[in-house]
Symmetry: C2
Subunit: 428 residues, 2 copies
């Protein structure tokens, strides 16, 4: 399919912070093949989209979520992480069937597409069902699973690589896989070591939660006599590419480890705030040159999967906490949600930047609304004023997945019906 | 006009946190005259609104803004308050004409109505033009102005009560007036004292900024040898009802003064974060029994006038900063944006609570969307998941001001055109 977008202002998110006003952008066979102020010669598009009063940016990348947790949205609020997780969420999750995860994931994807997210990194249960939902919805994702099962001593009792074989690089390259290591607290030294070896063998990225709470830090010192970052280093977890969610309670030594091992950090401001976990030292991480991406976490601790909201929050809180309005700029945050996220999902060089040769994951935002008027500064408007509902058109892998707010790949009414049924069955 | 809303779930925001499911609500001559699960007998409505899949809550109350600053939306970002205010905003404001303020206010009102705000407290320039915009738009407001002009020693050089005479209790009681005292740093002991006397004489509430920044605190000690709260107390400012915006840097003594004098505090989380001012100690204020309302501040330091976004933020940040997910509940925040705001605007007992006999300022939120599905908890859904764009219907003073997202009282295209012209003239 050939698409021409005309009359559009483009925030490219490339290294030079380039903004191109009133441009033409051509998409062919899933790739961006032309950007310029003059019309592309001899280009016969199948579809022309008028970008007047719209801004085109890279599709947003949600670098940490548990998508199917939409089922538990607004269940068990205003509790701390341990009470929330161990006494409410985990018992509910035990009742989840594979089909529930399929529909819950589709609900989350619906929300993500509508608010401009075109790729996400997910770890959850029944990952084959998550992959089916991703395939059906036409979104891009990196999905994490651990092929190993362990006994209580961390000895491998089962290996199953079928998920990786079936899905890695599938769906025209929209789908990648990575190795889930939930956290050092749900593992032990042996199972961490075996998982790291397995990741090396597969050539897989590891997706892990690190230092979300103070308690995680304390428990790690009790269990391992060292911090979660240190035990991850010791067991070889950090010898492969790693995406580490949260990183709220890093010591100076932990920051050095993460920098040295080029770990991709995912900042999840809503979830960390809502669960009372704390606030990651994002200005310090950015200053250290660490790649910081942005994520929503699951809908049960947020309670949205809305990256526009997450950008807004990330752009505000560090200024207030550090009493320094210059410490995280609007552009920093836009990069976190796009190009930095691409790295954290193993899609670097494919998506996250608008330039010729990149895959066509782009969104159009309708700026013609009172709440962003007048548009005195384009990047600030996108980060501080735009709402998720302002996303008009979503193109993923060169396909128009949403247009005028209407998703073409998902039967929303069916999805809502199925998820409500599940929520009623499990939560009563 | 008689309106019947049927099949609707109501969050009442009254003392008992009452939620009424699947109810009928009748509005007659601007008042709520009936709420119940059975249809009202012998009631012949002019209009029937189906509330299926909708939630009805009190219209949100924005207790601190400078509405016409929409003109400067997304201008001069990522700067600290003093640099932002004195070197960017004030020079731009000097160029504002009365007509500019009229259109800028209408733009702000458009955004507020669309995101569920039905009343606001405003202080700005050319307040007669603000009042005209409020009158034309059909929104409710309390508008602040100081009738006194002072020389540099604080001596009164002019008095003009025409604004108060013209607008107080006007527009069927939709419009109230209050006395602006911008801040103790733009005043001196003499002008504070004269303003307090004037407020007493008028029987007017005072609207003031207090302790927004650390620098304000330091400057106050240099200028007055005491904190802003203490000099306000000393000069009689706190002897009338007072709405104090920000209150970020209160000492324990300041908190006691504010509690003792029953000052209504307005929390402005976005603005305080964005300008790097800091974070108000809201959990402590609430625990002290102080009335805390919620505000957006002006669009130039936010950059929205969206109370849904503000509620969301207020519900999250204190949990994270205090590492306590229980310290400010979803219901606390909903009260801040409704019943607490009514007190801060001098509309206590008239609006902010859904019950019979109250004025009909109500909004309907469309819950039938993926991002709030499933609705496992109604109050949490409204505070954590609802977006401003989910507001479907807005009724103010018994009049349907917005329906299906369409404002009936404002020509949005004209407003955007006029404001853009102003922004171009002033900002280039």
């Amino acid at each position: 399919m050939k698409i021409l977008i005309k009359n559009v202002d483009i925030i490219t998110c490339d290294n030079h912070k380039k903004i191109i006003k009133n441009a033409y952008l051509a998409i062919e066979n899933g790739y961006i093949t032309y950007i310029g102020n003059d019309e592309k010669k001899d280009f016969k598009p199948d579809r022309v989209i008028d970008g007047k009063n719209k801004v085109l940016i890279p599709g947003l990348i949600n670098a940490h979520t548990h998508c199917a947790m939409t089922i538990f949205r607004n269940f068990a609020n205003d509790l701390n992480l341990e009470e929330w997780l161990f006494n409410n969420i985990l018992p509910a999750e035990e009742k989840l069937l594979p089909e529930d995860v399929y529909w819950g994931t589709l609900l989350g994807i619906s929300e993500m597409i509508k608010t401009g997210t075109t790729a996400f990194l997910d770890m959850y249960l029944h990952m084959d069902k998550v992959a089916e939902a991703v395939a059906d919805a036409g979104i891009r994702a990196n999905l994490s699973k651990n092929p190993l099962d362990f006994d209580e001593n961390g000895k491998v009792i089962n290996e199953d690589y079928s998920f990786f074989e079936k899905w890695h690089n599938g769906e025209n390259g929209r789908l990648k896989t990575s190795l889930e290591v939930h956290s050092v607290y749900l593992y032990n030294e042996e199972s961490l070591t075996r998982s790291a070896e397995c990741a090396k063998k597969l050539g897989a990225r590891i997706n892990i939660h690190i230092l979300e709470t103070v308690r995680e830090r304390e428990d790690s010192f009790k269990k391992y006599k060292m911090s979660p970052a240190e035990i991850a280093l010791k067991t070889g977890i950090l010898d492969v590419p790693v995406t580490a969610a949260h990183c709220v309670h890093l010591s100076q030594k932990d920051i050095e480890i993460i920098k040295e091992k080029k770990v991709d950090v995912v900042h999840n401001p809503s979830s960390n705030l809502k669960l009372g976990s704390g606030i990651a030292k994002v200005p310090e991480l950015l200053k250290s040159g660490i790649n910081v991406a942005l994520g929503t976490d699951g809908a049960a601790s947020n309670n949205n999967l809305n990256m526009m909201e997450e950008m807004h929050l990330a752009a505000l809180i560090h200024k207030g906490v550090n009493m320094d309005p210059t410490c995280v700029s609007a552009y920093d945050v836009l990069n976190m949600a796009t190009v930095n996220g691409a790295k954290a999902l193993d899609f670097e060089g494919e998506i996250g930047v608008i330039k010729e040769g990149m895959k066509a994951d782009v969104i159009l935002i309708d700026m013609d609304k009172p709440h962003m008027w007048p548009v005195n500064d384009l990047v600030s408007a996108v980060v501080y004023s735009v709402q998720g509902s302002d996303v008009d058109t979503v193109i993923i892998d060169g396909n128009i997945v949403m247009e005028k707010g209407e998703i073409k790949t998902i039967d929303e009414e069916r999805v809502k019906f199925e998820v409500e049924k599940t929520a009623k069955r499990i939560l009563g």
